[in-house]
């Protein structure tokens, strides 16, 4: 228990510090503590349910709609976060989740629009295509690392831009652009068939879809794999010390490649959830840097699958609620500032470790 607390403390402390700093920033720049308090309350209600309105005689939608939006965002953040976290576990830094997400999203959009199948099969095929696309796109850096010694940080950064340029500046605007009918020129690829859409969980109240279930299942499965299976243990051994792992008979190269494949597949799934759940086509541009958010989720979640899930649920919520801050003159991207600052503080892990050692040191011990 003490160990868990010690491991979680830097993340929790960072998130709280970041929230306080950003609260003060709003107070200073937007005139007063009351404004900041109102803005943060609006964000909270927008994130986790508008309880004041609900208890004031509002409908259940006042609570369910914000929660649905939050969970929709959290699903994508969880999957990209897991993608980065799983690579971390073998000691690789997958900065390429964004590129893998783009490839996965495109694969899902193409299969979703180009194939006709019964519902369950169609969704499964789209998810499979996205996972395979993401995994293949991550295989390159893994092979380059294994056989040519190219650092994965550099290769994945390059591949992010290659994917972005090829998909959003060529394929989506060129060969794969939806055929235009009449005056309606649709940006992006053709609309996916209804059979490929992820089922909605709350009907018309919210856009919440089965993506969140997929994300939770992925987090739990990864957690079990890392803690209960030999393969997962080997990954962790490689991440902790590749030389020691090699000496004790672990095939380090294979661990690198298999973890990178899983990492890419998870990022690809994030892309699929985005397309099959909310966008229904590959839009002109994905716009948001979900893959880079994954880095934040992985680190704030301390590389632990359930930590990533918790972190994604929190920040998915804040980001869904962030749109309500616009009423107080704060841009809707403000939660991303909270998230970035929390990540920066988590990076100063050593500092927090010193604090936690002081706090959690057994009384009377050395």
């Amino acid at each position: 228990m003490r160990e868990t607390a010690r491991a979680a403390l830097p993340s929790v402390a960072s998130v709280i510090t970041s929230l306080v700093v950003c609260f003060l920033a709003v107070a200073v720049l937007r005139g007063g503590l009351e404004v900041a308090l109102d803005a943060f309350l609006a964000m909270t209600w927008g994130a986790f349910g508008d309880f004041p309105r609900f208890f004031d005689g509002g409908t259940s939608a006042a609570v369910l709609r914000p929660l649905g939006e939050s969970a929709t965002k959290a699903a994508i953040l969880t999957l990209t976060g897991l993608s980065v976290a799983v690579a971390f576990r073998v000691g690789l830094f997958n900065i390429g989740a964004q590129g893998q997400l783009i490839v996965g999203a495109l694969a899902a959009a193409v299969v979703g629009a180009g194939v006709e199948l019964p519902t369950a099969l169609h969704v499964a095929l789209c998810l499979l295509a996205a996972a395979a696309g993401g995994a293949l796109y991550a295989l390159g850096p893994a092979l380059l690392k294994r056989y040519r010694g190219v650092h994965e940080v550099i290769s994945t950064i390059m591949l992010n831009w290659v994917a972005l340029s090829l998909v959003e500046n060529w394929l989506v605007t060129g060969p794969l652009r939806a055929t235009t009918t009449g005056d309606n020129s649709i940006a992006g690829t053709a609309q996916i068939h209804a059979s490929a859409e992820l089922p909605r969980l709350l009907g018309d109240v919210s856009r919440l879809n089965a993506g969140i279930l997929l994300a939770i299942a992925a987090a739990v499965a990864l957690w079990l794999w890392l803690t209960r299976f030999v393969g997962g243990f080997q990954w962790r051994a490689v991440g902790a010390n590749p030389e020691a792992a090699r000496a004790s008979g672990v095939n380090v190269g294979r661990a690198f490649i298999s973890a990178m494949l899983v990492s890419g597949a998870l990022a690809g799934l994030a892309g699929a959830v985005l397309i099959l759940g909310t966008e229904q086509r590959y839009p002109a541009t994905i716009g948001a840097p979900y893959g880079f958010d994954g880095i934040a989720m992985a680190l704030i979640g301390n590389g632990h699958p359930l930590g990533v899930l918790a972190s994604a649920l929190l920040f998915g919520g804040l980001r869904a609620g962030g749109t309500r801050m616009q009423l107080f003159g704060v841009h809707k991207s403000f939660p991303e500032l909270i998230q970035g600052l929390a990540l920066l503080l988590v990076a100063a892990r050593l500092m927090w470790m010193k604090v936690s050692d002081r706090l959690l040191k057994p009384k009377g011990g050395p």
Partner: protein, 294 residues
């Protein structure tokens, strides 16, 4: 046609040249700098915001200082805090992306960009920063290869313990290199908002920082190589833009997206074709300095 092309390269390239040359300094000292994008953003915002209340050249200096300040944070996290250098750099990118947007909204009540400022004056048809971008890589090259400081800088990125044994303070040298790298990135960002455009735009520098990192790797961690690669990338980009207007037929054959992907694909190709053990990244790159190790 060719002259117009070269002229547009002279306007577009300096931002990436400054940032790429700066990045080599940090990495040669052994500190990974993937935060160039964030540092450029700080420079671009700082310069444009400052130029609203002071002469633009002074605003550029503010941009340089802003880049250096962000780099100092990176240096503190990596050197004093011994954080993971890639994590710190990416965190800086994410923070600056959101912080820039927040400041735009808070200070100028406009999500799109700052109000227009007076652009830098033009010397011989181009901004002074263009001419500086031509000279600076050579200056940095000489400083890195011919001065005692440069020798120590390179040594500290290869075998810091050996340099420490000579009585050089590793942490101070690295800190200086990272801050200088940020100042260069800030200058590059300032060039975008004061010379290329006349205001800060909410998306600036929209990936040019990563292009600078690519140029640094492509140029094999040398100032002249990085500057050359940055020029080459900028030339390719200028060619693409000019082809789009002059020969749209060609772009049917080779789509724009393919051309946009080319600098990154080329960098990756060069990296993967290179022999193991050939000229590559500094040996101690990414490793926090631990005085206890020998």
């Amino acid at each position: 046609m060719l002259l117009a092309l070269l002229s547009s390269v002279l306007d577009a390239a300096p931002a990436v040249v400054f940032a790429a040359v700066g990045a080599t300094l940090s990495e040669r000292a052994g500190v990974v700098n993937v935060g160039v994008e964030g540092m450029m953003r700080a420079g671009a915002f700082g310069a444009a915001a400052a130029a609203l209340v002071m002469p633009t050249p002074l605003g550029v200096l503010v941009g340089v200082a802003a880049g250096a300040l962000v780099a100092a944070l990176h240096a503190w996290l990596c050197i004093q805090g011994r954080s993971d250098q890639v994590v710190s750099g990416m965190a800086i990118n994410l923070v600056m992306l959101a912080f820039g947007q927040f400041l735009l909204e808070a200070a100028f009540s406009s999500p799109a960009g700052t109000p227009a400022i007076t652009q830098l004056p033009k010397w011989f048809g181009h901004s002074p920063l263009t001419w500086l971008a031509i000279v600076l890589p050579f200056v940095v090259h000489l400083a890195v290869t011919r001065t005692p400081w440069g020798l120590r800088l390179r040594a500290v990125g290869e075998k810091p313990q050996a340099v420490a044994a000579m009585g050089v303070r590793v942490t101070r040298l690295r800190f200086g290199a990272v801050v200088l790298s940020g100042a260069f990135a800030g200058l590059g960002g300032a060039q975008l908002s004061t010379a290329v455009l006349d205001h800060f735009e909410s998306h600036m520098p929209s990936g040019l920082g990563f292009m600078a990192v690519a140029a640094m790797v492509f140029g094999r961690w040398t100032p002249l190589g990085a500057a050359g690669a940055a020029l080459f990338f900028a030339f390719g980009d200028a060619l693409r833009i000019s082809l789009a207007s002059s020969a749209p037929g060609l772009l049917e054959v080779v789509p724009q997206g393919v051309l946009l992907a080319l600098p990154y694909a080329l960098t990756l190709l060069v990296l993967s074709l290179q022999r193991r053990g050939a000229a590559r990244a500094p040996a101690a790159l990414g490793q926090p300095y631990d005085p206890e190790l020998r």
